[in-house]
């Protein structure tokens, strides 16, 4: 137990350290993406609100969650073999969805973990679950509450049937973000 505690504290410290970087960067990113971000209604940050006013008229007809130009339409976070760590390249995606959820308290999301087909089904169900929990924890750190998130796993059940090597296995190792009502 002690070891576990130490490790989790270290991990938490790491995450804190990591998240501070993007926080520094976000103002830049937000400014860059502000035309898209402002599509969400009732933006709460000061940066956003300045942008919202200008863009609100043209965004009402397109659902940000399905707009191909919007990062929110990207729903999959990919993982390395035997790993549940959210890689840095996917952090912006996760944060975008986190922000959406914070902006829409009634929205609920289901994080579906997946694995490639190698190994036992139930164990893969648990591994997939680990991945979805990992994504959830990133969202938690951004302020999203558990009542808006359910983590589940499909294990290897959605893995490509004819997949036999890494070229397609890597596609199977992912978490899908699914909004309630979809």
């Amino acid at each position: 137990m002690n070891k576990g505690l130490v490790v989790s504290v270290l991990l938490a410290a790491l995450l804190v350290a990591c998240s501070s970087k993007p926080l520094k960067d976000t103002p830049v990113a937000v400014e860059d993406k502000s035309p898209e971000m402002s599509q969400s209604t009732d933006a709460t940050t000061a940066d956003d609100s300045s942008a919202t006013a200008g863009m609100s008229d043209s965004d009402m007809s397109v659902n940000p969650l399905t707009d191909p130009n919007n990062i929110l339409s990207k729903r999959s976070v990919y993982f390395d073999y035997d790993s549940d760590e959210v890689k840095s390249e996917f952090r912006p995606l996760v944060e975008a969805h986190a922000k959406y959820l914070l902006a829409h308290p009634e929205a609920k999301v289901m994080l579906q973990g997946n694995t490639d087909e190698r190994g036992a089904r139930e164990y893969n169900l648990s591994l997939g679950q680990r991945r979805s929990v990992s994504v959830k924890q990133v969202m938690n750190l951004l302020g999203v509450q558990d009542k808006q998130i359910e983590t589940v796993s499909y294990g290897e059940e959605k893995a490509g049937a004819s997949c036999r090597d890494e070229s397609c296995w890597k596609e199977d190792r992912r978490v899908d973000i699914v909004y309630q009502g979809e």
Partner: protein, 425 residues
């Protein structure tokens, strides 16, 4: 007194006589070459249009790998009664045992099936039974006859009159099916567009618990095979999976995640009384009960890699059971509680493996390399499991000592997730 002494003396003299005679010649015979018991199964006297009993019995015995079923057509007299048996005919065929029988019609579309098992070498009967059955029970009766023959000659109970369950995937559609152990009489229990996994037989063979993704997340259902009715056993937040019945059928162990990592729980068969079993930061999954109901074996990666552990059902510390290799999952316990079967990953290949729980000796059984979900036959002799062949999922079976291997052919789509039902009553 003197007379008595003389008697004694005489008796003693008689007693020592054998000591002075020559010893018998002793011949040592080490090892054995025979693999199978040669048996002849004579076609039963039965009218056409019925299931052919001798064919089903022959197939069962052959499939067990322990019998060589001899061709009987060449024999002039095909007996159906003991009185008609000419033992010399069968001794000439090198048969050690002979099965004969007949099917006689009874009123009300019923039948009397009678059979005899005979010892050809000793020229004596070994077993004989009669059954009063309906037409629809013909196949099952043939399997029961095969069970009797198997038990009489091998000393072990047969498992021919049992059922198995498995999941098929055909053109994107999933179906949970139940069939006879020889694959005949398959019936669909439930079908869905979403995956179905982890079917588990209740100990009395009347219900199946399984995991269905029809609500876009894994939920555990219990369905009656008698009525077809089902109910939700567990739909908690997060995953609900890996149901395992207790030996008395009153509770199930299962895996829940509650928004965090997979942990073990027990729950009453009616869905009440949830209790948490493990509280670790690791993945704990795939619980199975020991036959005496006191322990739970499960998969956990609390030690850094997935291995098999055992803990008391009442709660408490878990002990590690597997020590070879870096990936041991899917534990199953033999009905006598002495053998642990599981899947071991070895260099990228997944093999059905057995471990003697008292000696710790490990033996990989299968020659296939994508093995999953092993399941013991109720007589503990065979292991049914899923594997892949030519890119397609198929079922296979292997005997616990590794000597007999079977491949169950399957037409159509993928087959996976097999589970062997309990012994026939």
């Amino acid at each position: 007194m003197m007379i008595k002494l003389r008697f004694l003396l005489g008796a003693l003299l008689l007693a020592i006589l054998p000591l002075t005679s020559r010893a018998e010649l002793t011949i040592e015979i080490v090892g054995g070459a025979a693999q199978q018991i040669p048996i002849a199964v004579v076609p039963f006297a039965q009218s056409g249009g019925q299931e052919d009993i001798a064919t089903i019995v022959s197939a069962d015995l052959r499939r067990s790998g322990l019998f060589r079923v001899l061709e009987t057509r060449g024999v002039a007299v095909q007996p159906h009664d003991v009185s008609e048996v000419k033992y010399a005919d069968w001794a000439n065929l090198q048969a050690q045992a002979l099965t004969i029988g007949k099917v006689e019609p009874l009123p009300g579309n019923r039948f009397k099936v009678s059979f005899r098992l005979l010892d050809v070498l000793k020229q004596a009967p070994l077993a004989g039974l009669e059954y009063n059955i309906s037409a629809g029970q013909m196949r099952n009766t043939a399997h029961r006859i095969a069970d009797v023959i198997y038990e009489k000659l091998t000393g072990e109970p047969g498992a021919f009159a049992t059922r198995i369950t498995y999941v098929t995937k055909t053109k994107g559609r999933y179906a949970l099916q139940v069939a006879d152990a020889d694959g005949y009489n398959a019936q669909t229990v439930v079908s869905s567009k979403e995956p179905i996994i982890s079917p588990a037989w209740s100990p009395d063979g009347t219900k199946l618990a399984y995991v269905s993704f029809e609500k876009k997340k894994p939920i555990v259902y219990v369905q009656s095979l008698v009525s077809g009715q089902r109910y939700v056993l567990a739909n908690f937040k997060g995953n609900n999976s890996a149901p395992a019945w207790s030996p008395d059928g009153r509770r199930l162990a299962l895996v829940l995640t509650h928004g965090a990592n997979s942990q073990l729980y027990t729950i009453n068969a009616d869905g009440t009384g949830l209790k948490q079993l493990t509280k670790s930061r690791a993945i704990d999954t795939e619980p199975v009960w020991s036959p005496d109901g006191s322990s739970i074996y499960f998969t956990s990666d609390r030690g850094g890699s997935p291995q098999i552990y055992r803990m008391p059902v009442s709660g408490g510390g878990a002990q590690r059971v597997t020590f070879e290799g870096g990936y041991n999952v899917s534990p199953r316990i033999s009905p006598d509680g002495k053998t642990l079967a599981y899947i071991q990953r070895d260099g990228g290949k997944f093999h059905v493996t057995v471990q003697d729980l008292s000696s710790g000796q490990v033996q990989a059984l299968s020659e296939t390399s994508q093995d999953e979900s092993p399941s013991f036959a109720p007589n503990g002799r065979m292991l049914l499991y899923a594997t892949s062949r030519g890119g397609k999922g198929t079922l296979a079976a292997v005997s616990v000592d590794g000597r007999v291997k079977q491949r169950l052919s399957e037409t159509g789509g993928d087959v996976r997730e097999p589970a062997w039902g309990p012994a026939a009553n």
